[in-house]
Amino acid sequence: MPEIKVTPLGAGQDVGRSCILVSIAGKNVMLDCGMHMGYNDDRRFPDFSYITQNGRLTDFLDCVIISHFHLDHCGALPYFSEMVGYDGPIYMTHPTKAICPILLEDYRKITVDKKGETNFFTSQMIKDCMKKVVAVHLHQTVQVDEELEIKAYYAGHVLGAAMFQIKVGCESVVYTGDYNMTPDRHLGAAWIDKCRPDLLISESTYATTIRDSKRCRERDFLKKVHETVERGGKVLIPVFALGRAQELCILLETFWERMNLKAPIYFSTGLTEKANHYYKLFITWTNQKIRKTFVQRNMFEFKHIKAFDRAFADNPGPMVVFATPGMLHAGQSLQIFRKWAGNEKNMVIMPGYCVQGTVGHKILSGQRKLEMEGRQILEVKMQVEYMSFSAHADAKGIMQLIRQAEPRNVLLVHGEAKKMEFLKQKIEQEFHVSCYMPANGETTTIFTNPSIPVDISLGLLKREAAIGPVPDAKKPKLMHGTLLMKDNSFRLVSPEQALKELGLAEHQLRFTCRVHIQDPRKEHETVLRVYNHLKGVLKDYSVQHLPDGSITVESILIQATAHSEDQGTKVLLVSWTYQDEELGSYLTSLLKKGLPQSTA
């Protein structure tokens, strides 16, 4: 039985370090190659020794697919390709290919330059790694080798995020990566056609959540910002450089435009500017509004949002500042926060989740007095708001995607085990498909029932279709032919052609049967009687009396001889080929019944 094997090296019942091995019809594919944010030791990268203890990974993997540029999906890539060693193709979409190295470089800088780690990949390695990348377009079918093909679908989430369909023969797997089923201000919603894969590997970050409409969130956000600015306060929005930051920028930019507001908006520089550049370029990957209006004006060419300078923080009057990092644990955002925290007119809006121990987490949990380094006490008078802008599909979205793709099996990754359990149960209940949720290192085997295509020659098809009733779409039809398995292909051909192709001589298979008839007359008279009888019964067939005393019915031969012992008994020899089996056996049974007496 053909099977598909899936082994998560990361992201199995866990968030972070996405890395899933899939072997399908003899091909091995690695989906994503991410790092884990929570660890700083060996556990941050997937355990590639699972694939092979020694020797190049290239021999064991046919290709690597990266779904999008988030580090938990691509962070281990240079390590994997350069340090462990992989030379095969790496597939990602164009925007991912463009933005991925920026993030990797940033990640490298922080780990090596700031934390002083050694034995980490270098800038050169990132470059080398990127050289192995093959960029793909949406809906482009890429032949990895003769049998393996992949195809990317739009996934929303972040710029360039894609879902991938991996197909070998008629077995297929769809890997979603991270995706978002509701559109936002800069990206559209994930979409897939009814591709009916054997297996759908879906993320399940929000397996147990159904989210409120995005409009309420947006409205809330805008209202809060607007009110603070009107009061003359300053708004600080700590963000991570890519993804949500662009969405919020667009949101504020359009709002400023619409409402004719004049207060300045700043964006802390660096990484972002480069990334924004790519957002401007990859317009086709954004949502309908941006795509439709970019001819007049590219939405990412911000009119109101300017680059931030350290000195601006002390400027009087209202302003809005986007600053990195998003959790207020270090860097520019923390500096600005310290400057502004004392004024109750100001506001800080946390657009995402904050890890425990960060300043962000502290202020969100309501702490009003913070101890900074040097025993300084910072009193937080500014308003603190929390707003969840997240771009993962919620439970409904996941179900919607499953409904669209109609898979035969579902496998959940990238989520917490407890939450997956719930969703798994729901999926099985609603769609009646089996659902799996392997842990890291655990292998799931799925048996498939692939249909095997067979070529049939047109002549044969037409010939066979002409026999019997009119073709009916609802009923299967039986056809006769020879199945030829040759050169790794299946063909249904007519027997004659099969013989010809295989260079075989045709064997004649004849059945002969003796029928005893009690008839005292002469042989030729008996033959005549038989002939007349058959002629009377078999009206539709050509019955002939040959001069040599034999009878043919179609190609069946009947001869009569007198019994050597008993002259009153005539022996009828009936002989037919295998092809005429039906008629032949009918004829014998007819003759066995004897001849009618009336002819006498």
């Binding site: 147990t208 435009e257 619409r258």
Partner: protein, 969 residues
């Protein structure tokens, strides 16, 4: 056959047709061109290769064919068809047959048999499909011939088993269009095809080709449209099609389900996998709701649109569409809407400061959560959040329609509509504001909702703001804080966008009159009065102050206690505003204040409007006094015109009527004056000056009549006659004047003839109105017509002169409603001192924003004129898309005008104005004459030499300062 054909061909070659035009007395001889069929026959015989033949056919298809020769052409084509081996040529012939059978006036039953015969031996699927298409055309041309239709349907049924999808497609289409609709007919004609058409089509719902499936559903819908009652059994089949792989099929299936739900709303269907049963319309509603989250946006749009028209659906199903159970980590969470509502009802303002304010509360039973609902759950929530704005707009429209029929639903969908005010696409925002306005009679806004609504007032788009003002005009607000909030926001809007003044005042007028009791407690604060101290008198010219006063005065109208709170200056301001902004400030009953009591005393009922009476009285006077001496008439006319003009200025609602009549009287006055010249009888050359006066009068009358005809909306045919009559008089005057001033008879000859033609066409156009025009100029003229036609120009002129003098003065009946087209250019304002600088030779775009009122078909008639200081004028036709229609009778023109000029040394002003273009041919008069057939009209009417095209300026010109700089080298 061939001989017969040949004969026919030759006959057609030499046919001469004499055509008579009944209306024109002249007779025309017309020689028909060599017959089409003949030419075609020759061509086709010449053709050596299929490609050649195809070329000939293509050329042939470009020209129309006369009705008489269609049959001949068809025969030739058919003959060639049988001989032709090439499929592409046969295909073209088949398509030509279809085209030819469409020819108006041709009855295709004679070629039907042949067309059916061709089907028999045809092998090519494409040609077969085309032939079936032709049969469809033939069938539709013969609507009242059931036996023909039966035959065609039978033919189609025979070909339904064809292996090509194209053929099956066409067959189904044909059955859908021609299949028997009444049961009775089907029984009578006991042929095989007459067996249930629905079943035949229904069998193809499962065809292997999606195109055929689509065609089958479409055919079914077609049957429904033609009046066949579809069977309920189809419903379950259609439901299965909703899960089809192909979007066209799904899209059509959604329509079919909708149709069935309208046909059998009350019948009961079982819910699969349970024993329950529900109404069909509810089930269908659920299914269509499900399609709102389909993978294809085409289907989503379709589904969202249809939802709006399913009004019979049960209320709890309807309300589910807005329901989306939120959860977070398997715990129930309240939506932001619910939270807002709760905060509101608990009387606490949103804190929003705590993290976890939205923390999930109770645990959810995991078994009870249904992630994919079979029902309608959250359909609109999804639809409104959709990626494509087309879907969002469709969803908003559907919400609107459903909310209009169900107040409970209206209340529920409010939150969602309010959310849509923040959509990223302006069209969607605008649509949702309009929707809200439409359902506003069903709803009352909560304060927090009002807050969100009002936030949109700062939008930079004028359309959005104006739509919002309209919305506020008819909203119900629940608290006095709400009113205050609205006022504050509107005033903010006013300071930010001063051009919105009128719209804001109007909005406050309605806001005040709708909520008098809520305004009452706010009055002292709004007027900033103080119990002990006198506060300074506010500036009367401040638009914001006027806005406040408009709100208060309108509230005071139905709240008699309010005036007691006014301070002295308020009363004075009232008197001033009542006079200057009478349309915004209602008459108030102010006790003990004679000084300010309104000029309209409240004892007079509003229906008996004195100004209306006055208008009619003065007109009566004029019409009765037609036998006075000329001097008296002139004076009376002058006075009446003056009165009417003043009345128009004072009473805006009567302005159209007053202006219209004043213009008419003015024309009359001019005519009388021109005829009064006593010097008519003296030899012409001496009186050039007087003639100048008379010809100027004639010219002016002509202009005024065009204005009367085209600038007023609501002009009826009765008025049009009078206007045309006046114009005729002016033309007569012109003729007389020319006759007097020019020497020689030659030019006069033509003019006379032209004039007589005009009289003739007048008679033709207004034949029905002539009896009402006893004693008028035209009446007399028509009596004299036989004499006029035969007499010399000089005599004609003489007759005209006397008739003109003797003719009486026609009474101008007034229509119910008459509005003068007006335009007001808002932008450019013409106040800027900064010249618009641009490099000469290049263009500069000038934004023009104007409001138009009572203009019919502004897209076709309104033009922008730019006048340069050197006298050069430029006429710009705005694009149709530049016109918006914010309300009945109102239009807005927002367009860009491109200016360019050679370099100037100094900045100078150009004038921009709006013109109303007219064409006397397309006037209301000719529109009333029955439309003649296409080819007739081309020849019967002479090219529009008497159609005068012109323009009427109807807005005040605005001056724009521009400065084309010389280009730098």
């Amino acid at each position: 056959m061939a001989a017969h054909l040949k004969k026919r061909v030759y006959e057609e070659f030499t046919k001469v047709v004499q055509q008579q035009h009944e209306d024109l007395s002249t007779k025309k001889l017309r020689l028909t061109k060599p017959s089409k069929s003949a030419a075609l026959h020759v061509d086709l015989c010449k053709a050596t290769s299929p490609a050649d033949a195809l070329q000939y056919l293509l050329q042939f298809a470009r020209k129309p064919v006369e009705v008489e020769s269609v049959e001949g052409v068809v025969r030739i084509l058919l003959e060639h068809y049988y001989k032709e081996n090439d499929a592409s040529v046969r295909l073209k012939i088949a398509s030509l047959l279809g085209l030819l059978s469409k020819t108006a006036g041709f009855s295709p039953d004679c070629i039907m048999d042949d067309a059916i015969n061709t089907l028999q031996n045809e092998k090519s699927h494409q040609v077969l499909a085309q032939l079936l298409d032709t049969l469809l055309v033939i069938g539709t041309k013969l609507p009242e011939n059931p036996s023909v239709r039966m035959r065609l349907v039978e033919v189609a049924c025979k070909h339904l088993t064809d292996s090509s999808h194209g053929v099956r497609n066409k067959c189904l289409q044909l059955i859908g269009c021609l299949g028997p609709v009444e049961k009775g007919v089907a029984k009578e004609a006991e042929s095989q095809a007459a067996k249930d058409v629905q079943k035949i089509i229904g069998d193809h719902f499962n065809d292997q080709d999606p195109r055929v499936r689509t065609a089958a559903i479409k055919a079914m819908l077609q049957l429904h449209e033609r009046g066949l009652k579809l069977q309920q059994a189809i419903y379950s089949q259609a439901c299965k099609l909703l899960a089809d792989d192909y979007e066209q099929v799904r899209s059509a299936a959604v329509q079919l389900i909708w149709v069935l739900s309208q046909l059998y709303p009350e019948s009961i269907v079982p819910i699969p996998s349970s024993n329950e049963e529900i109404r069909l319309v509810d089930d269908a509603f659920g299914k269509i709701c499900h399609m709102v989250s389909d993978g294809s946006w085409v289907v989503r749009v379709q589904a969202a649109k249809l939802l709006g028209s399913m009004q019979q659906v049960s209320s709890h199903f309807l309300e589910q569409t807005l329901d989306k159970k939120l959860m977070s980590d398997l715990r129930r969470k309240r939506t932001a809407h619910e939270r807002a509502k709760e905060l509101y009802s608990s009387g606490e303002f949103s804190s929003g400061r705590k993290w976890g304010d939205d923390a999930p509360k109770e645990e959810i039973d995991t078994g009870a959560v249904n992630l994919i609902e079979s029902g309608a759950c959250g359909a609109f929530v999804h639809g409104l959040e959709d990626e494509m704005y087309e879907v969002r707009i469709a969803a908003v429209e559907a919400l609107c329609m459903l909310a209009q029929s169900s107040p409970a639903f209206a209340e529920k969908c409010l939150d969602f509509l309010v959310d849509m005010f923040n959509d990223e696409i302006e069209e969607v925002r605008l649509q949702s504001i309009h929707t809200m306005r439409k359902i506003s009679h069903n709803i009352t806004l909560r304060e927090d909702q009002l807050d969100t609504v009002l936030a949109v007032l700062e939008d930079s788009s004028r359309d959005i703001r104006e739509a919002l003002h309209e919305l506020l005009c008819c909203t119900n607000v629940s608290t006095k804080e709400g009113i205050h909030l609205a006022l504050v926001e509107l005033l903010k809007n006013l300071t930010k966008y001063p051009t919105d003044r009128e719209s804001i005042w109007k909005c406050l007028k309605f806001l005040g009159s709708r909520h008098p009791t809520l305004v009452l407690p706010l009055v002292p604060e709004l007027l900033s009065t103080h119990p002990f101290f006198d506060t300074p008198e506010p500036d009367m010219d401040d638009p914001a102050y006027i806005a406040v006063l408009v709100l208060i005065f309108n509230a005071a109208k139905s709240c008699p206690t309010m005036p007691a709170l006014f301070s002295d200056h308020t009363f004075r301001h009232y008197a001033y505003l009542r006079d200057s902004l009478s349309h915004l400030v209602p008459p108030l009953r102010l006790p003990g204040r004679k000084l300010v009591s309104s000029p309209v005393s409240p004892s007079i009922t509003p229906h008996e409007d004195p100004s209306q009476q006055f208008l009619h009285q003065s007109l009566e006077r004029v019409y009765n006094l037609q036998h006075l001496d000329p001097q008296g008439i002139q004076e009376l006319l002058e006075f009446t015109i003056r009165d009417l003009q003043r009345l128009g200025e004072l009473q805006s609602e009567l302005a159209g009527m007053a202006d219209f009549t004043a213009t008419y009287l003015q024309c009359q006055l001019l005519l009388i004056k021109a005829l009064q010249e006593k010097l008519w009888n003296v030899a012409a050359p001496l009186y050039l000056k007087q003639n100048a006066l008379a010809s100027a009068a004639a010219k002016q009358i002509l202009e005024e009549t065009y204005k009367m005809e085209f600038m007023y909306s609501g002009v009826e045919s009765r008025q049009v006659v009078i206007i045309h009559h006046m114009r005729l008089q002016a033309k007569a005057l012109q003729l007389i004047v020319t006759a007097r001033t020019t020497r020689g008879v030659e030019p006069l000859f033509g003019m006379c003839e032209k004039f007589l033609q005009e009289v003739d066409s007048f008679q033709r156009c207004f034949i029905s109105e002539l009896p009402h025009m006893q004693g008028s100029f035209v009446d007399k003229l028509l009596d004299l017509m036989p004499r006029l036609v035969t007499s010399k120009p000089s005599e004609v002129v003489k007759i005209l002169q006397t008739t003109l003098r003797q003719s009486t003065f026609l009474h101008l009946p007034l229509p119910e409603q008459l509005h003068r087209a007006t335009a007001n250019i808002i932008e450019p304002t013409g106040e800027s001192d900064n010249p618009l600088r641009f490099t000469s030779g290049l263009v500069v775009a000038l934004d023009v924003d104007a409001t138009l009122e009572h203009v019919q078909d502004p897209q076709g008639t309104v033009k922008v004129q730019v006048l340069y200081p050197d006298g050069q004028a430029q006429l710009i036709h705005p694009k149709p898309a530049d016109f918006r229609n914010p309300g009945p009778g109102r239009h807005r023109l927002i367009t860009q005008v491109y200016l360019s000029h050679t370099a100037w040394t100094e900045p100078c002003q150009i004038e921009v104005r709006l013109l109303l273009a007219y064409n006397s041919n397309t006037s209301k008069a000719s529109a009333r004459t029955p439309k003649s057939a296409w080819n007739e009209s081309l020849e019967a009417l002479p090219p529009s030499e008497n159609g005068i095209e012109g323009t009427i300026p109807f807005s005040k010109p605005v001056k724009v300062y521009i400065m084309p700089k010389p280009a730098r080298r």
